[in-house]
């Protein structure tokens, strides 16, 4: 066989022109419309919040993000209104971070236990219970957190403060331990545990069986196989699940409202009875707000919206990056 010489122009990529059938065109149109509809809804929410809150951004500028004061104008006009979301923004991030830090190790352990250690009957029961826990409404969590969790969590807070009080975040300026970011974070951790567990378990279950067997074939223990194969493989799923949980924790309203003291002050002392988050602040102020404060609440809503959107984009980026590495 004789090979013919091929010039560079002959091997340039071809552009294929595909002629699609009617059914294919219709289906393509339907799915495209579906995808565009979600993007449009997202864009419209963002535009609405920006439109309603624009005056606030114009009036306060960057200080809306850096100031912790949230004061309506006095009726007699003696003091002007001042609005800033710094305290609530920091509060949202602190509480959500506590929730994620507490929930992720538990979620990983539960997912690994369910997938690799639990007998079948127990696995089925525990998965059903987790699904049930995920469907509990926030207000029920809030009531449970206020009446059951808080009295116990105050004891844990005192212990943490007693032993770790030398670390700034565990310091308490005034020894009042109820309705603190720690208690709110603990409650949120329980609320986001099912979603992180569910996503993580799903990914762990897809870890390549032949690689696990390869680890066994070299004399590995079960934990060795999990550490070598399952955890690296499931890293992107864990990050994805965590970010989903973080998104929920950042936006949680009513449960946080019930167990966290709303104080407009930037607070990094997680055991102190000072805090709040953007969502619960909006819920608290919405009913009694005048027209100008309502605009400020819309602007705060936009900040929360963009923060959550940012977290989700970050999650996608991390997941894609770890997929590439894997």
């Amino acid at each position: 066989m004789k090979l013919l010489p091929v010039s560079d122009t002959e091997v340039s990529p071809r552009i294929l022109k595909v002629s699609r059938g009617t059914a294919d065109k219709v289906f393509r149109g339907v799915v495209l419309a579906g995808a565009m509809f979600s993007v449009a809804v997202l864009g419209l929410i963002c535009a609405f919040l920006l439109y309603r809150g624009f005056e606030i951004f114009k009036d306060f500028g960057f200080s809306f993000f850096t100031s912790s004061r949230w004061e309506a104008a006095a009726d007699d006009g003696s003091s002007p209104a001042h609005y800033g979301v710094a305290a609530m923004l920091v509060g949202s991030i602190v509480v959500a971070t506590i929730a994620v830090v507490l929930a992720v190790p538990f979620a990983m352990s539960v997912a690994l236990y369910l997938e690799y250690y639990a007998p079948q009957f127990l696995k089925r029961t525990l998965v059903s219970i987790l699904d049930l826990v995920a469907s509990i409404p926030s207000v029920i969590w809030g009531i449970w957190g206020y009446t059951i969790l808080m009295p116990h969590a105050m004891g844990w807070s005192k212990t943490l403060n007693h032993w770790l009080g030398w670390i700034p975040i565990f310091k308490v300026p005034v020894p009042i331990f109820e309705r603190s970011p720690f208690i709110a974070g603990t409650l949120l951790a329980m609320m986001i545990l099912p979603i992180i567990t569910s996503v993580t378990r799903e990914v762990y279950s897809q870890a390549p069986r032949d690689q696990v067997d390869a680890a066994y074939g070299l004399g590995s223990t079960k934990w060795g196989a999990i550490k070598t194969v399952v955890l690296p493989f499931g890293k992107s799923g864990l990050v994805g699940g965590t970010m989903l949980g973080l998104g929920r924790a950042l936006g949680e309203t009513i449960a946080v409202y019930l167990v966290l003291n709303l104080v407009f002050k930037v607070n990094f002392h997680i055991l102190a009875s000072v805090g709040g988050n953007v969502a619960s602040m909006i819920a608290t102020k919405f009913g009694e707000a005048g027209p100008y404060e309502l605009k400020a609440l819309m602007a705060a809503g936009l900040v929360l919206f963009l923060l959550t959107l940012g977290v989700n984009f970050l999650a996608s980026a991390i997941v894609n990056r770890s997929k590439k590495i894997a």
Partner: protein
């Protein structure tokens, strides 16, 4: 020191009767048509698949006995497998792959590293030490898989078609490497192959399944 398997092996409903004893220093070649259970035999010995009936013992110690409900987990058997599809850990470097078996057995990092380098040298793959397993060519991966198995210093070495996935030139080369490794191996070795040349040049005797 000998390995003995008597009973039935299999996965699901497909069962294969087996009765074989292999002495230390022997290389048992295993032949047979596709799907007859050669790989299942390897996995049964390594502790990945349980015996369906009968018993499996090594050096007088029962590893698996269905009727006595005895089953030793893979880490309690000193086996190492070279899988037909190699199954290197793609996210790890070549060195980390070869160290894996040693680290699983609690060998210190430094000692595992020097042993791994030595074994890589033995299969002429020392130059690959820092490469990711994912980017290796077929022949390179085959050498690394072999080094990974012998580095674990097993009592039972299980080679499942270790020369099947490479071109003819590399195959000759690797066959001679494998012959050197097997002649120096003090334990029990089992070699699955479809190639009569592999079996005649590497195995001390051959068992045909099915």
């Amino acid at each position: 020191m000998s390995l003995s398997v008597v009973g039935h092996i299999g996965k699901g409903t497909h069962t294969i009767p087996i009765d074989v004893t292999v002495e230390a220093g022997e290389v048992l070649g295993i032949a047979g048509r596709n799907g007859v259970g050669k790989t299942t035999l390897m996995e049964t010995i390594a502790g990945i698949v349980p015996l369906l009936s009968g018993s499996l013992s090594f050096d007088g110690v029962t590893w698996d006995d269905a009727s006595q409900k005895v089953w030793k987990s893979p880490e309690q058997r000193r086996c190492a497998v070279v899988f037909q599809d190699l199954r290197l850990f793609p996210h790890m470097s070549v060195l980390q792959n070869v160290m894996f078996g040693l680290r699983s057995r609690g060998i210190s990092k430094n000692e595992a590293q020097s042993t791994a380098r030595m074994k890589l040298d033995l299969v002429s793959a020392e130059h690959l030490v820092h490469r990711k397993a994912m980017g290796l060519s077929g022949g390179e991966a085959q050498r690394v898989a072999l080094a990974r198995a012998i580095a674990a210093e097993p009592d039972v070495l299980l080679l499942d078609e270790p020369l099947s996935a490479i071109d003819a030139g590399s195959r000759e080369q690797l066959r001679s490497v494998l012959a050197d490794v097997l002649s120096a191996f003090p334990g029990v070795a089992l070699l699955v192959s479809h190639d009569a040349k592999d079996l005649t040049s590497l195995a001390t005797r051959t068992l045909t399944l099915g």
